[in-house]
Subunit: 190 residues, 2 copies
């Protein structure tokens, strides 16, 4: 009798274990798909951001200003190029990691789990540094700085600046998703 109830308990525990690892895997896949979409959108929004405006420029003080058509686009600022590249790399990495999760079907060795954790950790580093870079340049564009005499530009290129801000915000969310993935990876380690 005692032997039977023990088996039952083990069975239930096994069942519970399976359910738990199943739900955790579902959560992981959802977060990876979310990270994939976020990084793709962040890269695209900044990549296509472009605005052309006619700006009056005074070349000779005594003469009337000259109307010059100027364009703002991400490729003109290396911090924005960095943000687009970081998101593109993270997006590619996430696609690969989703394939790994699907193929491994829950039977992942400790070294594979560690490798995925380290990969996710590197995406945290990459995306937070690109968020910092693009965020700092974006803020400089919005406010300027009188000490270094850099004038703000978002007064003229408002739409472009807003698109850049949206991209930086989405990159920040993606960075946090990768942080959560690192914690989830750590919890899965045997």
């Amino acid at each position: 009798m005692e032997h039977e109830s023990k088996n039952k308990v083990d069975g239930m525990e096994m069942e519970k274990g399976k359910k738990e690892s199943g739900s955790r895997k579902g959560l992981e896949l959802t977060m990876r798909v979310l990270a994939l979409v976020l990084t793709m959108v962040a890269a695209t929004v900044l990549g296509v951001a472009k605005q052309t405006k006619v700006v009056p420029i005074k070349l000779i003080p005594t003469l009337p200003p000259l109307n010059v058509s100027t364009t703002a686009k991400a490729s003109y600022l290396s911090a924005f190029v960095y943000n687009i590249s970081a998101n593109a790399i993270a997006c590619g990495y996430t696609a690969i990691s989703i394939v790994i999760v699907m193929i491994s079907k829950g039977k992942r060795s400790k070294s594979l789990l560690m490798a995925v954790l380290i990969g996710d950790l590197m995406m945290v580093a990459l995306l937070f540094s690109s968020t910092g870079a693009a965020g700092a340049i974006g803020l400089m564009g919005r406010h300027g700085n009188k000490h270094v005499m850099w004038k703000k530009v978002c007064g003229v290129f408002g739409k472009f600046c807003n698109q850049a801000a949206v991209s930086v915000a989405i990159t920040l969310i993606a960075s946090v998703v990768f942080m959560l993935l690192v914690v989830l990876d750590a919890l899965k380690l045997p």
Copy 2:
């Protein structure tokens, strides 16, 4: 006879386990002290960075330039203030984590290990974002950007820019040390 040799093997394995966790703890403490020193130095180097120069400024084109004494210091640029604050926070956190490691003497519960892992992970995020921000502004100061008409400033304030670059480089090293700590924390999880 067999019983005795089995005990011996268990004893040796226990011994080996103890040595391993001892050496790992030594490694962890060394890395935490390194992170403490790096973040302290990075914050100090940028915090004390200051340079004053006499700069000829043309106010009226027809009149000779006016010699104006101008100063460059970290508090004039929010990305640098962010880098100093991030290093100060990471330095404080590392001091607390060293105390936790010393007090716990190797008997840390899974939740404490997880809390330390999450703490180290947040330092990775904080320091990489401040490295990105200060790095982007530092590069802008060194090269300027003709598209947004921001002139480079490091031609005048070379010493200040070099100190800022040193601080950003040290912050990057500290960020990598925290990444290694996250991996070490994950390996320790039971």
